[in-house]
């Protein structure tokens, strides 16, 4: 049973819930999404330093980084990457599906005198993934925002109103993904709006528009989930057994993401939490305990009031 977040927020007769399906198996790490996002949303510069983290100098999502492309270099057995090196363990990919593009670079054996050492038993696999705000069905940032600056749009997405946010910073620590952050320059919280302005004009978000490999797909969430299921089946059939969907399940700890992902390794490899749960699910229990603790203090006041002056 999945929740309709727009209806729950009071949008009657709203358009279908829109979202992103980011298929990292076809991401080539071009960062066109990062650039297009910055250009369209006029997001300021977010640092010009070199991180030493492969080709990733953006490092992570933040107030001025609403799309972030992660680069992961892994030494893996050749059988784990099938697209470029056929092996016994890996059946050939069906012709209908596009091959995953995780790059495979056979490593040179140190001992070249032995012919058997030349076999590419190991290689470097390069994973790339464009991260973004998940536009959670159960959204912690929105729940905890004390001003109402964060709100649920008619498309089911979560957006900050710049003219309301007073920079309290509560959303920053509440987000289980470390997406939203406070910008130094203006003291306010910022994050991906899923291009709310473009959606209103019937256009797709800038990052999806700019993505040259359709790694970032935009559309009605129901359709995207169906498409993602088929894609995972294709990849599994092609021997890419690690392919998994992340945040596609309405039964997960955030009620499913409005943006979800196809990953080729565990979420934490990409810097994503493996089992995020929205903190406000426990808030009723927190209020119960606060109520009991406060009642204890009040009882102390009453007991003191009945004390006799010696």
């Amino acid at each position: 049973m999945s929740i309709d977040p727009a209806a729950r927020a009071g949008h009657l007769d709203h358009p279908p819930r829109m979202g992103f399906f980011t298929d990292t198996s076809v991401c080539i790490g071009c960062k066109a999404c990062e650039v297009a996002c910055k250009e369209w949303n006029a997001v300021p510069e977010d640092g010009l330093s070199l991180s030493g983290m492969s080709y990733d100098n953006t490092v992570g999502l933040g107030a001025s980084t609403w799309r972030h492309v992660a680069f992961i270099e892994q030494v893996v057995p050749a059988s784990r990457v099938l697209s470029l090196v056929p092996s016994d363990n890996a059946p050939a990919a069906p012709a209908t599906s596009s091959p995953p593009t995780a790059l495979f670079i056979p490593s040179l054996p140190a001992d070249t005198s032995s012919p058997s050492a030349l076999a590419p038993a190991e290689g470097v696999r390069w994973l790339m993934s464009s991260d973004v705000c998940k536009h959670c069905t159960e959204s912690a940032c929105l729940d905890v925002c004390p001003t109402g600056a964060l709100f649920r749009t008619e498309f089911g997405t979560v957006v900050v109103q710049d003219d309301v946010c007073n920079g309290c910073g509560y959303c920053v620590g509440a987000c289980p993904f470390g997406v939203i952050a406070r910008r130094e320059q203006d003291g306010q919280a910022h994050k991906c709006t899923l291009c709310y302005d473009r959606l209103g004009a019937g256009m797709e978000p800038a990052c999806a528009k700019a993505c040259p490999t359709k790694s970032i797909q935009f559309g009605p969430l129901d359709e995207l989930r169906e498409r993602a299921r088929l894609r995972v089946e294709d990849l599994h059939a092609a021997g890419q057994e690690d392919a998994q969907l992340y945040l596609d399940d309405p039964a997960d700890g955030i009620g499913g993401g409005g943006a979800f992902f196809l990953l080729l390794d565990e979420p934490e490899v990409y810097g994503l939490p493996p089992d995020p749960v929205v903190t406000t699910r426990d808030l009723p229990a927190m209020w119960r305990h606060v109520g009991m603790a406060a009642a204890g203090l009040a009882a102390a006041a009453i007991a003191l009031g009945f004390g006799r002056r010696r």
Partner: protein, 328 residues
């Protein structure tokens, strides 16, 4: 073929803090270049931990003021009312100062949201501040004494909320060392607040006229000591490989919290045993106030440390997934 967990090459580095001996071996986990998964709350020091302390002091002081007023301890009531006003005024300054846009602080009262402890707290403060202020002003100036006594009772009704809602405030986040302690944190905060308010009463009032403060201090300190132990036991809990109590027990934060526990226990003993001596009473009171402040700063810093290190986010979640998988 066996699954190969890849490590090295920049991903999944395990970090060890210099010089510290971990209680248990570090859990195996993978991360993205050792980067944190969640963001540290954008809350500054000393503003926010200072507020956690001062809000508690104010709320519990109002409780004490009402108790003292009703049972005829005039001097203690006066001290407590003034303490409540002073602490809540400083609190308000700290809270506004911590905002990214201080000029927009009034937006806090734009909506009322029970899903946001900060919204609930803002409304509580908006109600409590003027009432506590009226109680103190009437007490000091002698103007409208009946209204002042009523305001004192009103502040005592709202005070327990002010002293404890801050536990929900910090636990309702993705910060592992705070969130997972949400069952115990309100009692730690209530105990710490009562201990501070009682301690201030002991410190600032003549020992012959301080009995309610002594009672509150002893009760609060005992609750604080027990609840903090239970909090740490919960966080160290057996179900996860990675103890979330670790950030409370290691480094400078660990030292601060151990000293706080020592001062609380010492203050408690002094308050019980030193009732005849002005000096011992005052010293006990000062210890309890200092311990309460140190407890809040320590808890704040432990949470921040658990946000900075990805292992506290990743390992418990990974184990939770494995436990669910093994049950099916």
């Amino acid at each position: 073929m066996t699954e190969v967990r890849t490590r090295g090459n920049g991903t999944g580095r395990r970090r060890r803090r210099g010089g510290e001996q971990p209680m248990v071996p570090d859990a195996e986990f993978t991360s993205y270049y050792g980067r944190p998964v969640i963001k540290e709350p954008a809350w500054g020091v000393p503003d926010v931990p200072g507020y956690l302390f001062l809000g508690g002091l104010a709320g519990a002081s109002s409780v004490l003021a009402a108790g003292a007023q009703q049972s005829g301890y005039g001097e203690l009531a006066r001290v407590s009312k003034v303490a409540a006003l002073g602490a809540i005024s400083l609190s308000a300054v700290a809270l506004v100062h911590d905002l990214g846009r201080p000029g927009r602080f009034v937006n806090m009262l734009r909506v009322f949201k029970p899903t946001s402890p900060m919204s609930v707290g803002s409304w509580l403060l908006a109600a409590y501040g003027p009432v506590a202020g009226a109680a103190a002003v009437s007490e000091v100036t002698g103007i409208l004494p009946k209204a002042g006594r009523a305001a004192t009772l009103g502040a005592a009704v709202l005070g327990p909320g002010i002293a404890t809602y801050t536990a929900a405030l910090i636990c309702d986040t993705a910060v592992p060392a705070w969130h997972e302690g949400y069952r115990e944190m309100p009692y730690v905060f209530a105990g710490s607040a009562a201990s501070a308010a009682g301690g201030l009463g002991l410190l600032a009032t003549h020992p012959d006229h301080v009995s309610p403060a002594r009672s509150l201090a002893v009760l609060g300190a005992a609750v604080e000591l027990i609840a903090k132990r239970q909090l740490l036991a919960r966080l160290a809990g057996g179900s996860y490989e990675q103890s979330l109590a670790e950030p409370y027990e290691t480094g400078r934060t660990g030292a601060v919290l151990r000293l706080a526990e020592f001062l609380t226990a010492g203050g408690l003993a002094g308050a019980v045993l030193g009732r005849r001596s002005r000096a011992v009473s005052a010293l006990s009171g000062a210890s309890l106030v200092a311990a309460s402040a140190m407890t809040r700063f320590g808890i704040f810093e432990a949470g921040m440390a658990s946000a900075r290190d990805p292992k506290y986010t990743i390992v418990p979640q990974r184990r939770r997934l494995e436990n669910v998988a093994s049950r099916h």
